[in-house]
């Protein structure tokens, strides 16, 4: 009986499976998109009867709708449909799923520079060089353009960047008789002086868990932990365990161990509270951060100033970058030309940047805007009306070259884990650097890439 019924059950299951597939198909393809509205937001139905191309864009900046409105008002043949598909990681996860399953990707997506290689290897980005992208190369700083292109092949149009500067509390610096440091050696001396004057305060916090910022700091020391070439998507250079990286890691690790610098994690409530309460007198940040700081530390608005980055060698002018995004056309688009046009034009004039700068605190890499007197001389209330772009704009022009790996999210996670473990005293910073190198090389090989350790 048992055997018999099992066989019968299997047969019924098979029948049920077939019915299920039919039932689902029939029940659901009828009403189409259903009650929710826009239905399929992937790339598709490119051009309607009137010859107007609709380009679907995934982006997450809250104020982006206004920029889209500006674009749509000034274009008749191309219209943009904005979709908020999640912030950063969430949107990338969806794009990966869509690429893997063969449909569902938008025409255009907001993508951070550091994520581009991971979609290059999935063949997810379209070369828009043939659609006029090469002609706008001169409108962007060279280091940014290098990150989105390879010769005549262009895989994204840059939007904003995050040159790193030193934010400090002018009022508290004055109270404790401190001066903004110009070298990292001075920075350390300043931290010691502050500790002597008031042991409860820290010159800054290391922001444990902020691997992107750390990579920016390594870059600012002249280091380049990764190398990647869009024309050889299966090859990667991993060069994390080197003198420059170790120097940066040990510099911060030592100061944390001595209690000069705090080790509250990035974006922890404590970090936020420390900034709000004036426990941290300085913070090393990207140019787009004031938007966030202004909210969590609203009471301190006006007391902050920006100074150029301290240098490792006096007289140098090395700069780092943290963050920044682009618009990339996906390989699933049905209207590559229109999508490329949107990518090129949406932030390629001055009008949209009024929204981007005023409301979203974006730092433009579009030269005509970034170099305009309006932007350079613009006073910021949060910084006591200091025209901070006089510092950020030159910094953005001299950022050291840097590439990312096709597994940046894994790399960041590894860096965060290993550095945190060194700060907790479980290993030295040198060991952390070696471990990161080893883990990344192993990982790259395990997914079938060719690795060279530079």
């Amino acid at each position: 009986m048992a055997i018999h019924s099992a066989r019968r059950g299997r047969r019924l299951m098979a029948a049920a499976a077939a019915t299920a597939a039919l039932a689902l198909g029939a029940a659901c393809s009828g009403p189409g998109g259903g009650g929710g509205g826009s239905g399929d937001t992937g790339g598709g139905d490119a051009t309607d009867a009137d010859g107007v191309a609709t380009v679907t864009v995934w982006a997450w900046y809250p104020e982006f709708q206004e920029v889209v409105d500006v674009f749509n008002a000034s274009h008749e043949d191309v219209q943009v449909e904005l979709v908020n598909a999640g912030v950063g990681e969430d949107a990338y996860a969806k794009l990966r799923t869509a690429l893997e399953s063969g449909s569902g990707a938008p025409d255009l997506i907001q993508m951070e520079l550091s994520e581009m290689p991971s979609f290059m290897v999935m063949d997810g980005l379209l070369d828009i060089g043939p659609y006029g992208a090469t002609e706008v190369a001169d409108s962007y700083p060279e280091w940014v353009w290098d990150q989105v292109s390879q010769g005549d092949a262009v895989y994204a149009i840059p939007v904003d960047a995050g040159p790193i500067g030193m934010f400090y509390r002018a009022d508290l610096y004055e109270e404790y008789g401190l001066e903004p440091a110009t070298t990292w050696e001075e920075y350390r001396a300043t931290a010691e002086a502050l500790k002597a004057a008031n042991p409860d305060l820290y010159l800054s916090d290391f922001q444990v868990g902020n691997a992107s910022n750390l990579v920016g700091l390594i870059q600012q020391a002249g280091g380049a932990p990764y190398g990647y070439d869009f024309s050889n998507p299966e090859e990667v250079v991993i060069n994390f365990d080197n003198e420059i990286t170790r120097q940066v890691l040990n510099y911060w690790g030592d100061m944390i161990a001595e209690g000069l610098i705090d080790d509250a994690p990035y974006h922890s409530t404590d970090w936020d509270a420390g900034i709000a309460a004036g426990t941290y007198l300085t913070t090393i940040e990207a140019a787009w951060r004031p938007g966030y700081l202004g909210n969590i530390a609203e009471a301190t608005s006006g007391s902050w100033r920006v100074a150029p980055m301290p240098q490792w060698n006096e007289g140098d002018d090395l700069q780092g970058n943290h963050g920044g995004s682009t618009f990339a056309v996906t390989s699933q688009t049905d209207s590559p030309e229109a999508a490329a046009q949107v990518a090129i034009e949406i932030f390629g004039s001055e009008e949209p940047w009024e929204v981007g700068i005023d409301k979203a605190f974006l730092f433009p890499v579009f030269n005509p805007v970034a170099e305009s007197p309006d932007f350079l001389e613009r006073p910021y209330e949060f910084f006591g009306d200091q025209p901070v772009n006089e510092i950020f704009v030159p910094a953005a022009q001299s950022v050291s070259p840097l590439s990312f790996t096709p597994f940046d999210s894994f790399a960041k996670s590894t860096i965060n884990e290993q550095v945190a473990s060194a700060i907790a005293g479980e290993q030295t910073m040198d060991e952390a650097a070696a471990a990161i190198q080893q883990i990344l090389v192993d990982y790259a090989e395990s997914v079938g890439m060719t690795v060279s350790e530079g």
Partner: protein
Amino acid sequence: MTDLARRPRAPMTPGRVAVAAALVVSIVYFFLPFWWIVVASTKTTGQMFSSHSLWFADSFAFLDNLARTFSYQGGIFFTWIGNTVLYSVTSAVGATALATAGGYAFAKYRFRGKKVAFGVLLGAVMIPNTVLVLPTYMIMSSIGLVNTVWAVIIPGLLNPLGVYLIRIYAQDSVPDEVLESARIDGAGELRVFAGISLPMLRPAIATVLLFSLVASWNNFFLPLVMISDNALYPLTVGLNNWRALATIDGSAGQDLYPMLITGSLLAVVPLIAAFLAMQRQWQSGLALGAVK
């Protein structure tokens, strides 16, 4: 319920004081986070990071926060509430209907393949969600349902646990003799099920309905993957989006904490209200599985 309760004023014995103290401690513990969110919803972002989190700040920003929550991004919060209600009610009602019929069949009918089917069903409860998400996405994608309401509602119809609960409840609370005598009186199987068994199953059905409702109301992972359009988000994914914007480097200068906190507060209120409203039903339903 017991004699202790019926006595109007029980004398204060050490035992009774200990019980009361234990209850008070547990009330404080379980209520603490709710207290926090109520307090936090009255603060501005600056105050949240500069005042004690369990007590009010100088100013009272609740109404302002409420207004901002409702008006932000063209009132999208209302859209999310609407979506959540749509997803959770349709999924929960559908899942409960399927589970009730299925569980009852397992409890009261002998048919071939039953043992195997039930074994497979129990195994299904143990399968991690992540393994199903990508394949489900691909199936939905191939029939063009990704990023539609169906991509959330249809997978929500599956509730193996509900089948299990109904089965156990039906075994205990629907006596075979009653069914048999109805059959002898000439009632067909359908009438026996609809007319006799269903009313007896009501507490179990209410329970499964409520738990399905909670499961789909709080569902996060599935809609996160399936839905890419802001206007189709349920509350969980929408609030997570605000959280990411508020706490991760995506806010681009927008002050989202107050909306996040106030929105979260508003998101939990309806479920708690539903619990209260259906209390009598589900509490008796929950006895299922217990008495055997």
